[in-house]
C-alpha cells in the first residue's frame, strides 16, 4: 500500500512537471516582499517560493535557490518572453494569448510539437539568457561567472585578463535552467533542445560591436571593442523570421553503434536545418475555432484589418467566417511632448474609425 502511494505521488508530480513550464512565472506575481523585511525572513521566503513552484524540476529549483535575485530575474525573463510573443503574434490566428488559473500559462496549446511551440521555446530561452545577462551587467546577480577566455596557464583572475561578456553567463544559465527539463530521449525533448539553442544563438548573433580608441593622444593605436546586448525586440523579430521558415522534421534513429537520435527533414529533398533554424515535428492545430480541451480561444471577436492581404487581414484572420464592421469613437493620444524624465504631455484626439471584428 505504501509503495502504491509513493508511486502515485511521484506520478502526480511527474504529470505536474510535464504540464507546466517555467514560463508560468510570467503569470502569477509572486507576492513581492516588502522592503523592510529582515534578510533572514527574506531568504526563507525565497526558499519557500522556489519550492512552491511545482512546475520547476529539481535542477531548476536548485538554480532558483542560488540567490534571492534569481527568482526575480526568472520572472522578468518569463514575462518578457510572453510580452514579446504577444507582440510578434499580434496578427496571427493564435495570438500567444495567456490563460489564467491553468497549469500552463498558454493553456496547453503548446502540447503540440508545432511551429508555435518551437517559437515559444526558442523565444523563452533567449529571453532568459537576455534577462540574466542584463542582471549581470547591473550587478544584481553575484553568480555571474568570470570565465575569462584566457588560456589555462595564466591565473584565472579578472585582474589579470578581465572577464568574458555577460551574455556568455546568460547563455550558460539559460542552457542549464531551461534545458534541465527536456529529455533527450523523447521526440519532444529533442525538438525543444534544438529550439532552445536556436533561441540563444539568436541573441548572440544580434550583438552589436562597439569600439573605442584610447591610444597615444586618443589615437587608434590602442583600441578596445565590446559587444552590446541587443534589444529583445530584435531577437523576437529574428526568431519570427525563423518561425516563418521553420523546418518540419522527423526523428531518425541511428542504430549503428550507439543509439543516436537525430532530427532530419521530413522530406529528403529539403534543406537540413542548422543550429539557428527552428524545427517542429507536427503541424499546428486549427486555431480558428475555440477548443476548450486544447485551450484554443479561436479568432472570434478578434479585430482584423480589412485592407490587409496578410495574416491580419479579415479574410485570413476570421477563417472565412466573415466580419462585422462597427464605427467607433476612437480616442488617441497625440501631439505628445516628452518631458524628461517621466512625463509625457499629450493631447487627446478624438475621431471616428471603422472597427472590424471577426464573427
Amino acid at each position: 500500500m505504501k509503495l502504491f502511494w509513493k508511486v502515485f505521488c511521484s506520478f502526480i508530480l511527474f504529470v505536474q512537471a510535464v504540464t507546466g513550464n517555467w514560463w508560468n512565472l510570467a503569470a502569477p506575481r509572486v507576492p513581492s516582499q516588502a522592503g523592510n523585511t529582515s534578510l533572514e525572513t527574506f531568504t526563507t521566503l525565497q526558499k519557500e517560493s522556489c519550492h512552491r513552484l511545482e512546475y520547476l524540476v529539481e535542477r531548476q529549483k536548485q538554480l532558483c535557490l542560488l540567490s534571492d535575485r534569481v527568482l526575480q530575474v526568472l520572472q522578468t525573463g518569463a514575462s518578457q518572453a510572453v510580452e514579446e510573443c504577444q507582440h510578434q503574434f499580434r496578427h496571427s490566428r493564435w495570438n500567444c494569448s495567456t490563460v489564467a488559473n491553468s497549469t500552463d500559462i498558454f493553456g496547453g496549446v503548446l502540447k503540440f510539437k508545432s511551429r508555435e511551440s518551437a517559437f515559444v521555446h526558442a523565444l523563452s530561452s533567449a529571453a532568459l539568457a537576455h534577462a540574466v545577462a542584463r542582471a549581470c551587467s547591473r550587478g544584481e546577480l553575484n553568480e555571474c561567472s568570470c570565465d575569462a577566455r584566457v588560456r589555462k596557464r595564466t591565473p584565472r583572475h579578472w585582474q589579470w585578463g578581465g572577464c568574458s561578456e555577460d551574455i556568455r553567463y546568460g547563455e550558460i544559465f539559460s542552457r542549464d535552467f531551461v534545458d534541465a527539463k527536456e529529455d533527450k530521449n523523447t521526440d519532444e525533448g529533442l525538438m525543444n533542445l534544438h529550439n532552445n539553442e536556436a533561441g540563444r544563438r539568436a541573441v548572440r548573433s544580434r550583438m552589436q560591436r562597439v569600439c573605442k580608441c584610447h591610444g597615444m593622444s586618443g589615437s587608434c593605436s590602442v583600441r578596445v571593442c565590446w559587444r552590446r546586448l541587443p534589444q529583445l525586440r530584435l531577437v523576437g523579430d529574428a526568431l519570427t523570421t525563423r518561425y516563418e521558415g521553420a523546418s518540419h522534421v522527423k526523428v531518425v534513429d541511428r542504430k549503428r553503434g550507439k543509439n543516436i537520435r537525430k532530427l532530419r527533414p521530413i522530406h529528403a529533398d529539403m534543406k537540413k536545418p542548422n543550429k539557428t533554424d527552428l524545427v517542429y515535428l507536427e503541424e499546428s492545430p486549427d486555431y480558428c475555432e475555440p477548443n476548450d480541451e486544447l485551450g484554443i480561444l479561436g479568432t472570434r471577436g478578434r479585430t482584423c484589418n480589412r485592407t490587409s492581404a496578410g495574416l491580419d487581414g479579415c479574410r485570413l484572420l476570421c477563417c472565412g467566417r466573415g466580419y462585422q464592421t462597427r464605427v467607433r469613437d476612437h480616442e488617441e493620444k497625440c501631439r505628445c511632448r516628452f518631458v524628461w524624465c517621466c512625463r509625457v504631455h499629450c493631447e487627446i484626439c478624438r475621431y471616428k474609425r471603422d472597427h472590424h471584428v471577426c464573427n
Binding site: G35, R134, C136, S137, R138, G139, E140, N142, E143, C144, S145, C146, A148, V150, R151, T154, H157, W158, Q159, W160, G161, G162, C163, E165, D166, V210, K212, H214, M216, S217, G218, C220, S221, V222, R223, V224, C225, W226, R228, L229, Q231, R233, K333, C334, R335, C336, R337, F338, V339, W340, C341, C342, R343, V344, C346
Partner: protein, 544 residues
C-alpha cells in the same frame, strides 16, 4: 683613421649579432602573444535607476548605489511616474560588478579607467531625437576602498557636462531603439582606489535643456581598464630594456670619449635618441602602485612623443649626413637641418598642445572633452591637421633625401670598376652595409605599419593551432616595442666608433680591410677628422 663598428665588423660577426637580435625580437613577440592577456578589458554596466527622495539635490555626501547596505530604492523607467521629477532620478553605476560570488575590486595594476556612456533611446513618433541635439549630464564620481563601510563613498570629482547625441534609426518603428554612437564620458589616469561609483543625473535647469533627447530606456556605461596581466608583462619588458639601453649608452659614450676628436653630429643624435628611449623605457608605473599619479596617461603620451620626435629627427640627420653635398671642411651641425627639423617640431608641438588641451585638462576634470564645444572642436581639428601636414611634409623631405643618397651611391658605383679590386671590395662592403641599415629601418617601419593594419583588419584572437592561441593585439604591442628597442640598440652598437686601426689586423677575417689604409691616407683633408669612413668615402669622391 677609424671607422664605425659596422664597417669593420666581419660578415660572420654581423650575422651572429643580427641573429641574436632577431631572436630577441621573436621572444618579445611571443611574450606578448602567449603570456600577456589582451591589453585592455571592457566591462558593460547597466544603470540602476535610483529614486532620490532627498530635498537637497546638490548634496555630494549622499550617494546612490545598488549593492550593499543602504542601497537605493529603484524605479522602473518604463512606467510613467507622475510623482517623479527629473531631479529625483539618479542613474547609478557601481563598478566593478561582482563575479563568481565574489566582490571584485580594481587593482592598481589596472592603471587607468575610461568610461563610455551608451544611451538606449526608444523611438516614439511623437518625440523623435532631433539631429545635433545635446545632452546635459550631471556626473558625480565617488570612490571607496576595501575595508570602508558600504555607505562610505567619498567624492572624487563632479562636473556638469554637455555631450552631442549622434543617433540614427533605420526603420522608424515605435518601440525600437535608436542606434546611438557611444559617448566618451571620463578618463581617469590613475586607478588608485578599489571601488568607484558614478551617479548621473540629467538636469533640466533651463526649459531647453535635455528636451530633445527622446525616451531613455536604459543607460549603459562601459568601463575600460588596462589589464593587470598586460601591465605586468609590459612593465617587465621595460624593466629589462631600461638597464640594457642605459648600459649600451654608457658604453657608446665611453667609446666616443676615448677618441681625440669631438663627437660628430650623427653620434650626438644617436646619443640623444638613446636618451629618449631611456625616457620611454623608464618603468615609472611602479610608482603608481603606491602613489596616486593621475598624470600617467599624459606622461605616457609625452614620453612617446619625445621618442618619436627624436627618431624622426635622427632619420633626417642620418640621411643628410650621407648626402655628400656639404662642404667637407665644415663640421655639420643641427643648424643645417633646421628646415627639415622644423616639420618634426611643428608636428610634435601641435600634438603636444592638443594633448595638453584634452588630457591636460582632464587632470583637473576627468569628464572634460574638447570635442563638445564648436570652438574646442575647431581648435582640436586645427592642431591635428597641422600635425598631419607636418608629418606629410616630413616624409616628403625624408624620401627626397634618401633618394638623393641612393642616387649618389649609384653614381659612385659606376666609378667602382676603375678602382683596384681591394678598394672596390671595401667600397662595395660599405655600400652594402649602408643599404643594409636602410633596409632594416624600412623593415621596422613597414612591420609596424603592417602589424597595425593587420590588427585593425583581423580583430580578435588568432589561431594557428587549436592549442596555441596568439593574443594578437598584445603581441603587436610588445613586438613593436621590442623592435624599436632592438633597432636602437643595434644602431648604438654598430655606429659606435671602432677601435680597430686600419693597418693593424688581429683577425684573419679582416685582412681584406688591410690595404684600405693606403687608399684612404692620401686624402689630406680628412686625416684628422675621424668621421665615419662611409662619409669620408663619399666626400672623397666628390673631391674627385
Amino acid at each position: 683613421m677609424t671607422g664605425t663598428i659596422i664597417e669593420n665588423l666581419s660578415g660572420r660577426k654581423l650575422a651572429v649579432l643580427v641573429t641574436f637580435l632577431l631572436l630577441c625580437q621573436v621572444t618579445c613577440f611571443l611574450i606578448g602573444g602567449l603570456v600577456a592577456p589582451t591589453p585592455a578589458n571592457a566591462q558593460n554596466i547597466l544603470a540602476t535607476v535610483c529614486k532620490d527622495t532627498t530635498i537637497m539635490k546638490n548634496d555630494t555626501t549622499k550617494w546612490f548605489y545598488n549593492r550593499g547596505k543602504g542601497s537605493c530604492k529603484t524605479v522602473h523607467l518604463g512606467d510613467m511616474h507622475t510623482d517623479l521629477s527629473e531631479t529625483d532620478v539618479v542613474f547609478a553605476f557601481q563598478m566593478p560588478v561582482p563575479r563568481d560570488d565574489r566582490i571584485l575590486d580594481f587593482s592598481r595594476w589596472q592603471q587607468n579607467l575610461i568610461g563610455v556612456l551608451q544611451l538606449d533611446l526608444k523611438y516614439h513618433s511623437q518625440m523623435e531625437v532631433k539631429p545635433r541635439s545635446t545632452i546635459t549630464i550631471d556626473a558625480r564620481l565617488a570612490y571607496k576602498n576595501k575595508g570602508d563601510a558600504d555607505e562610505d563613498w567619498k567624492l572624487y570629482t563632479r562636473s556638469v557636462e554637455k555631450r552631442h547625441l549622434d543617433c540614427g534609426i533605420e526603420v522608424k518603428t515605435e518601440e525600437y531603439l535608436y542606434n546611438c554612437s557611444a559617448i566618451p564620458l571620463f578618463e581617469l589616469g590613475s586607478l588608485h582606489h578599489d571601488f568607484y561609483l558614478l551617479n548621473i543625473r540629467l538636469p533640466v535647469d533651463t526649459p531647453d535643456m535635455n528636451t530633445n533627447i527622446g525616451h531613455i530606456q536604459d543607460l549603459w556605461l562601459t568601463v575600460i581598464n588596462q589589464n593587470g596581466g598586460f601591465t605586468k608583462v609590459w612593465l617587465s619588458l621595460k624593466t629589462i630594456f631600461f638597464p640594457c639601453i642605459i648600459a649600451i649608452l654608457a658604453w657608446f659614450w665611453n667609446r666616443i670619449h676615448m677618441l681625440q676628436r669631438k663627437p660628430v653630429l650623427l653620434e650626438k643624435m644617436l646619443l640623444s635618441l638613446g636618451i629618449a628611449l631611456c625616457f620611454l623605457n623608464m618603468p615609472l608605473e611602479y610608482l603608481t602602485l603606491h602613489f596616486d599619479l593621475p598624470f600617467m596617461l599624459l606622461l605616457g603620451d609625452i614620453k612617446q612623443g619625445v621618442f618619436y620626435a627624436m627618431l624622426f629627427s635622427f632619420w633626417l640627420v642620418f640621411a643628410g649626413e650621407h648626402m655628400l653635398i656639404q662642404d667637407a671642411s665644415a663640421q655639420s651641425s643641427l643648424k643645417q637641418y633646421w628646415r627639415h627639423l622644423s616639420a618634426v617640431a611643428m608636428g610634435c608641438i601641435s600634438l603636444f598642445i592638443f594633448d595638453m588641451c584634452e588630457r591636460g585638462v582632464q587632470l583637473r576634470n576627468p569628464f572634460y572633452s574638447i570635442w563638445v564645444t564648436d570652438l574646442g572642436t575647431n581648435l582640436a581639428l586645427t592642431f591635428i591637421i597641422l600635425a598631419g601636414i607636418s608629418t606629410g611634409v616630413y616624409f616628403l623631405f625624408l624620401c627626397y633625401m634618401v633618394w638623393q643618397v641612393f642616387i649618389n651611391i649609384s653614381q659612385k658605383r659606376q666609378s667602382l670598376p676603375t678602382m683596384c679590386s681591394v678598394r672596390r671590395l671595401h667600397y662595395e662592403g660599405i655600400i652594402y652595409r649602408f643599404n643594409f641599415l636602410m633596409l632594416a629601418t624600412l623593415l621596422c617601419a613597414a612591420l609596424t605599419v603592417i602589424g597595425f593594419i593587420l590588427g585593425q583588419v583581423a580583430e580578435g584572437q588568432w589561431k594557428w593551432d587549436e592549442t596555441i592561441e596568439i593574443e594578437y593585439a598584445s603581441a603587436f604591442f610588445t613586438g613593436v616595442y621590442g623592435m624599436w628597442n632592438i633597432y636602437i640598440f643595434a644602431l648604438l652598437v654598430l655606429y659606435a666608433p671602432s677601435h680597430k686601426r686600419w693597418p693593424v689586423s688581429e683577425n684573419t677575417s679582416d685582412t681584406q680591410n688591410l690595404s684600405e689604409e693606403i687608399e684612404f691616407s692620401p686624402l689630406p683633408s680628412e686625416r684628422n677628422s675621424e668621421i665615419s669612413s662611409l662619409t669620408s668615402f663619399i666626400r672623397k669622391t666628390t673631391v674627385d
